[in-house]
Amino acid sequence: MKVALVGNQNSGKTTLFNCLTGMNAKIGNWPGVTIEKKVGIIKGTNYEITDIPGIYSLSPYSIEEKISKNYIFEENPDVIINIVDATCLERSLYLTTQLLETNSRIIIVLNMADKLEEKGLIIDEKKLSQILGVKVFKVSALKETGIDRIIEELKKLNYIKREKKVPDYLEETYDINKYEEIANKKYEYIENIVKTCVKKKIREVSISDKIDKILLNKWLAFPAFIIIMFLIYYLSVGVIGKFTVDVIGNYINDLKVSTYGIMTNMNMAEWFKSLVIDGIISGVGAVLGFVPQLIILFLCITLLETSGYMSRVALLLDKVFRKIGLSGKSLIPFIVGSGCSVPGIMGTRIIENEDERNMTTILTPFIPCSAKLPIIALFAGYFFPERSGLVAASLYFLAIVIIIFSAIIMKKYVFKNTTSTYVAELPEYKLPSIKYVVKEVFDKIISFIKRAGTIILLCSIIIWFLLSFSVKLEYGVKIEESILAAIGKKISWIFYPIIGVNSWEATVSAIQGLVAKEQVISSMAVISGLTEETSEIFIKGGIFEFFNPISAYAFMIFNLFSAPCFGAIGAMKKELGNNKKLLKAVSFQTGIAWFLATFIYQIGNRIEKGLFNVIDIIFIFGCIIIISLIIKTLAKQNNTRNTLCSYCKMCGKQY
């Protein structure tokens, strides 16, 4: 039997889905968290249940809502669990009245029953059930009460396939005035139902309103937002600071020494010892050292996502964002993207306007994701030991500056004619369930560790191989004569303006960021491990000795803002719709990163040395002219847009 969870946005579908299946799918407190359908099996049964994006009606407005409509009519689920936010019955029942007209088998679940008392509402669900002619259950997905009754009811149902009916007013060409009449009538009918089934008591000012008095206050709103964002990155990097750097330096070296001892006792071959110690332990160990920082980061992001604050920030920033061609809703992908760009980019689907959506897709990877955190934590922790938190926060604010700057450029040259709207429900603040938060942080950490054990491990082995063999495949050559060195030396000039030296080691490491951003650190550790000159930490002494605070900062900038990893590039391709747009977007990102990193290094270096002369000024102007020329040529080709929206099977119109 196929069961579908259908309901308004932010009504708790995914929370209920998690209850019914025992899974831990992503939840959040903003409308539109779920942007793709998810399938699971209901505990103790063989029923397949699908969680679909929230909809307010069967006439979809944004992309993810279209997925839901298509699911209901094309996949034809046997039972629809219509989840209704009990605290907002009127609006929720509108969808119910539409669903009842589709000849579906429906069970109504009144969610958030635990909130009714707080809201001063008493609902007579028996009466509601009589009027609507379907079963009605009160549950709290958050407190996990009433869930068993849903499963029992599903078991009782006899299911004969029913043919779905599509009401005529759902056709896209249906007359808008007639549609208005129908909507008016439906809501009148619902108002009458609510009058008979719901008793309302007068309640005091809600807690949400009290919190908003501060967080949305005319004067305090912006400072509060800046402090909150600053704290997240300050805490993630600053609290642990140099500690991880020391851990990598000491414990991993100890581990290498003891492993070497064990392997020597077992008479293992030299090359195998080198592979395990210099390749695998160096490469994977360097990345795993950053788990503590990531725990703090994931905790902060999860709390932010589940609290309801993100919808406030979207409201706060909408006016500014609109001026630069984005929507207030762009903020949500940005914040989700600080965990991982992939769900961030997919989350752009909640933005209705195509131009705003595409711009947000291109800009989301600029926000440093959790995989970039090891790069920041390592360089900031080592080169700025006293101020690592500040340096980390500075990079995030730089990301915001780049986003604004890039958005202005794109709006001016690429996405010109934008008329957009902003329609979003403002949810109340919620205390997240501790169980969910712990599970979510745990899951994300586990997946980071898994990545270290798979992709990073594999890359470390490949890098070790490329470093240990010469072009003629002789083993045991100096790394200067290795295959990787040969490749790196051909392109190391690209990074010369950023780090001030021709370092093939840094070059090949930065390029590996395409696989996964933390691979940059891993690769540097492997290369350094093979030079035998290592001291306590791989960026001190040896081949990476040339790094100073300025070149370290510039190198970080390149790695943070250049093309994201392949995973994120794939997500961008899916959202942008074609390769041409994707190629432009990725070149744009990499170009900006390269110029900014060069700029910072060249200026910083000259200021430090006290040298600032005519050549520098010419250089700066040269940069500006080149950048504007590149942008103009990119823009010229992009004026014609004829992409088919990849999600909209229904209308087939060209945008």
Binding site: Y56, Y61, I176, L316, E425, L426
Partner: protein
């Protein structure tokens, strides 16, 4: 400030004021449909709940929930002030 009984646009109201929707004069059918689906039908009572610190967008309360809309869209909704 608009007083009881005035006919005006929803965007003209101050925080705390209530009004009854008279008509939606929204040009784009897709947006109009969406707003109707969200419960902004004629005779619905709405209250201005919050205004963003920069003056736009505006958070309105209707049918027991809060909805954020931009001023330019609220400007196309005709209402009668009731408080």
């Amino acid at each position: 400030m608009r007083k009881f009984g005035d006919i005006c646009k929803l965007s003209d109201l101050k925080v705390g004021q209530k009004a009854k929707i008279l008509s939606l004069n929204i040009e784009k059918d897709s947006l109009k449909k969406h707003l109707l689906d969200m419960g902004l039908t004629t005779k619905t009572i709405v209250k201005i709940k919050k205004i963003a610190p920069m003056g736009d967008p505006i958070d309105i309360e209707l049918r027991g929930y809060e909805l954020v809309l931009r001023k330019c869209d609220l400007n196309q909704i005709e209402v009668e002030v009731i408080k």
